[in-house]
Symmetry: C2
Subunit: 410 residues, 2 copies
């Protein structure tokens, strides 16, 4: 069995770097705090008999040998990067539960059938280098190394440069073919309210909903705010504001609303940032989701049409670039059944489709994959108030241990 206090102590240790005064975390991919927690991850997992591989995308595989070391390891992975206004659980808990499994094996002198690898996937959040799940995506064949290393933050730094800067651009090729796993389990906080409402510590993840991300660039015409008549303007920010409202209207007032469609514009940048010059350029980041791919498609179409009409009316030009697609998916039935049996042992049977993307989305392209969800307070995530109780975190680790050992036996 896992040890709740020990799991919590490991979690606190993993949150030393990048913690914020409000109790949250701000550990963007490849910043100095991310380097520090990676160093910690390697030295911590070494204690439980692991050797390490770091691939070209900075994904770290902490491998504990088994009886059959010609087999690829079974992966227990998640991520140590966070949102700029993140909490201590999103991603971090998954890596910590993997470390707890290592500690249980180590303390009990267990040599498993296959090797096991606790994996820290790089840039899962996509907050600094969009899109999300970028480096598990390279491993799973969705993105090329060149594409992923070239992704830029808002200041124009590339992920490749930043990986080199912190010393985590490894030499292992970032791919399933060159560096395979046998399977992938992931513990993650639910980030939604279902378990909290049902008063259950743990849930079984059936699959993940459909997600698409877009960059929208709007070009108007700069002009003097004091001398330019209201009817002679091409105001890019007024156009952008209408697009934000239309996006919200489409997912709250049309047929997709009861089917769980969601769309959000959370990133906006305008230029020239002068209070007396009408905005000439605005860029928006758009996030569309729904359980069904067809609904994401429908929301996209409706947004695109609405944005085109707004642009036309205001004399704006617009580009609408869908730079990331993550279709809906169902996890591997054998793996889900291992999770189901392990969850039953801690008294849980609720099955959930994830609203958030996870590294498991991309591992599932190559290997049998499943996930365990842990209850989090009020379903709050991507906020410093994100919180899961010590006993719930331990229940997640216990379910992971049970599911993993079942698969190792299998």
């Amino acid at each position: 069995h896992v040890d709740a206090a020990r799991t919590n102590a490991t979690l606190q240790a993993a949150c030393v770097w990048g913690s914020t005064p409000d109790g949250g975390m701000n550990r963007l991919t490849c910043n100095d705090d991310d380097k520090s927690v990676r160093d910690w991850f390697i030295s911590e997992t070494k204690k439980y008999g692991c050797h390490h591989k770091v691939d070209e995308m900075g994904n770290i595989f902490a491998i504990r040998p088994g009886q059959n070391n010609s087999l690829p390891p079974i992966g227990l992975g998640s991520h140590l990067d966070t949102q700029p206004t993140g909490g201590k659980y999103d991603g971090i808990l998954g890596v910590v539960c993997g470390i707890e499994v290592l500690q249980v094996l180590h303390a009990n002198n267990v040599t498993t059938f296959a090797p096991v690898a606790v994996v820290n996937w790089t840039n899962e959040e996509g907050a600094r280098f969009p899109p999300a799940m970028l480096c598990s995506g390279v491993w799973g064949g969705e993105f090329t190394v060149a594409y992923a290393q070239g992704r830029q933050d808002l200041e124009g730094n590339t992920l490749g440069e930043e990986l080199k800067r912190i010393g985590y651009m490894g030499t292992t090729p970032a791919s399933y073919d060159a560096n395979p796993l046998l399977a992938h389990f992931e513990v993650h906080i639910e980030q939604g309210p279902i378990l909290d409402v049902a008063r259950k510590p743990v849930g079984i993840v059936r699959g993940v909903q459909s997600i698409r991300w877009y960059n929208v660039e709007i070009q108007g015409r700069e002009a003097h705010t004091g001398t330019t008549p209201m009817d002679r303007r091409s105001d890019a920010l007024l156009g952008a504001a209408k697009m934000i409202l239309e996006t919200n209207r489409i997912v709250t007032e049309t047929e997709v609303a009861p089917r769980g469609g969601r769309a959000t514009i959370a990133v906006i940048n305008s230029s020239p940032q002068s209070i007396n010059t009408i905005a000439g350029k605005v860029s928006l980041g758009l996030d569309i989701r729904a359980p069904a791919d067809s609904d994401v498609e429908l929301i996209e179409q409706q947004c695109r049409e609405a944005f085109e009409i707004i642009s036309y009316k205001h004399g704006l030009t617009m580009t609408f670039d869908n730079f990331w697609n993550s279709p809906a998916l169902a996890f591997d039935p054998t793996m889900v059944s291992c999770v189901r049996q392990a969850a039953a042992e801690v008294g849980c049977s609720i099955e959930i489709t994830s609203g958030a993307g996870h590294d498991s989305v991309y591992t599932s392209r190559k290997v049998p994959t499943a996930m365990v969800f842990v209850r989090c307070r009020d379903g709050v995530s991507h906020h410093p108030a994100e919180f899961s109780r010590e006993e719930d975190c331990a229940a997640g680790a216990e379910a992971l241990l049970g599911a993993y050992l079942r698969y190792d036996d299998y």
Copy 2:
């Protein structure tokens, strides 16, 4: 008489630093280009017999002695800073016309009754350090030196630090009392369409409309875009978008519209700038104008109420800070009459109320002030396409010369 080609050559020289490939200018207050053009301004005006005073706000007074040097000089002022997407005429033309007057006096060996000072006022645009007309405002008693030196750009640099950095924090006190002028004339491009429509090169400025600037800070709650139901959000950016639309509606669809009310939100900043975290904080810059103070007041009230309702509906908190007020004003009748007579000599009689603020707004608090407007193509300003013909610029300089000599006689 002024020399059109010479005036144009001076204008081109004044646009060497900070010119952009699209034919415009980007010379924000106290950047390195602003330092270079200040150095040029001093060496250029030295050629025509000027000595110089630089005050604590970096305002530069290039003084050519007259017959009665115990009198304060008559000021011919404007500004050499520009918008980030500015043109070659806004402000620059006014300083250049002042230099042209110096050249005419110099070439003709004229010793005027009073001394004359060509003035470069610091940070007229307010683009980098809001509000606008900041340093003529200090001279005119509207702002304290401490307030103005402490104004910050978006990166948090203060104007005081930046003045020191470029070597233009002078020792002359920045005030009318310590460093008076006798009167102030200013040439400026109209930045509106009236002269262009009337096909007249020059106009007489009666006064300036009412202007107020605001910072609006909106606080919502960060949350996951993928897992947070649409009806459980406090989305600061959705609220901000509604405020932008309401602002536009108020000045286009209510009683203030036919009375020339204008309101614009051109600056927006949101955080945490992550595509999958709902914006928790948004700040807006709001600019309200109208010919009548009472209409600016009315627009302000309507915006404030609308913003409060939006905030309430979305669970947001908001602060609405009016940090700058520039009431409507009429220029000095004697000075305007000097401009009227000089304009008549170049065949012009159109009288205009300025939609933009100018340094003359603040000099008029202390000394008789008037302005000459120069036609600009399509009324376009704060855009690289801003353009005034060489002969129109010369007509502006000629009207300045005529008006100034009349006042010197008077």
